[in-house]
Point group: C2
Chain length 199, copies 2
DNA sequence: CGATTCCTTGAGCAACCTCAAAAGCGGTGG
DNA sequence: CCACCGCTTTTGAGGTTGCTCAAGGAATCG
């Protein structure tokens, strides 16, 4: 019910290498058989399937997060996963059993912090939610590739028209600046200057 | 900045037994030294401390969830924890290292599902959010002890006046019924009848 | 370059918020 | 036991933010 899904299953032959995906690409669906991954780059959107059968935003995974670990318990994914930006996944666990166990504890702690971040993106004034997402997704150098308006809307529980208005306002205020490479627009790429944010 | 906090640190001598807490009781604060626990009963509220120094709702832990596992990594808690209802915690991990590792994986999977649940509580129409929380907290027999209005408001990102209006409406519609024991009101206890919910 | 999807912008409206006041509930101490 | 105090909950009236519906423009893909 959300986003475009050019969906093809992950190939068995790829299980040992790192995989790259384009924005909008469906990675897997709830119930599919598969394995666990670590997100190396980009943003993965995880959706729950409602009783009514349509897909609603459930959570986000960004660089460092582990996704699909439930496959180790049930053999199948519980969420639908799609790439929101260009992204890269590598198989998990990556080392031996001991390394996996340490990384599990770390992942659990990280998952709990991530949950709090997500919750924060769905509360308060509309502008602050969008800025929160920008902050979450921006790299250290003040660069960010935003998801599509509709995906931002799903994440923040706002309407895409509202997101559009807010992002335009932030551009006019100098907080966001569309990035161009060789004179051509980098799709949804922005330079971020939070200090330009009016009180 | 939220809720009343009759705060006293957890005693060392209690580390091996299960502990019980009254609603409103502060369990620990971010930065405190302490250990990890499994929630046996009730609802624990976890708050992040903002840069401005005040506490904002971050997430919920209910029966079966593991809280404070980050102490095994950093030696200190990252969230402030308070009991929203009468609740009971027992030390975690409960068995040997092998059992802990299996339970970790399970906990990670559960934490991710819990995150999606929380996210769902902060989107959509006000009534549906409150009903979502009621469903999350109700036991199998259609009984629930709700947190205070202000806490429900913090969880759902609504105002406590709005929560009050919604709960009264649900009572009048027969979805919620205040529970009395020996003719005396069971504090914030309700019987739930979701089938009485109008479309 | 034609079609489809995504984004922008406007006008009016509804859901929820804000501010305010009063009633209920629980403890505490006379 | 009752009067009092603080805190929570209820209820009302009016205001604001973000939603809905609608239309046109920009991007992207074949």
């Amino acid at each position: 019910m959300n986003s475009s899904n050019t969906f093809t299953p992950i190939k068995l032959s790829d299980l040992r290498r790192s995989l790259a995906f384009e924005p909008g690409k469906g990675l897997w669906r709830s119930g599919d058989a598969g394995r666990a991954w670590r997100v190396r780059q980009g943003v993965v959107r995880l959706d729950s399937t409602t009783s009514a059968g349509h897909s609603v935003f459930g959570s986000l995974a960004i660089a460092g997060d582990i996704v699909g670990c439930e496959t180790l318990l049930f053999g199948a994914y519980t969420f639908n996963a799609t790439a929101l930006t260009q992204c890269e996944l590598s198989p998990w666990p990556e080392g031996d059993a001991a390394a996996a166990s340490a990384s599990l504890l770390e992942s659990l702690a990280k998952a709990q912090r991530r949950a709090a971040d997500l919750v924060a993106l769905r509360g308060g004034q509309a502008v602050d939610r969008v800025l929160g997402l920008v902050r979450l997704l921006a790299d250290g150098a003040g660069r960010v590739v935003l998801p599509a308006r509709q995906d931002i809307a799903d994440i923040t529980d706002l309407r895409f028209e509202t997101i559009s208005r807010i992002i335009k306002t932030l551009e006019r205020a100098g907080v966001l600046a569309a990035v161009h490479i060789d004179g051509v627009r980098a799709s949804r790429g922005y330079a971020v200057d939070l200090s330009a944010m009016p009180a």
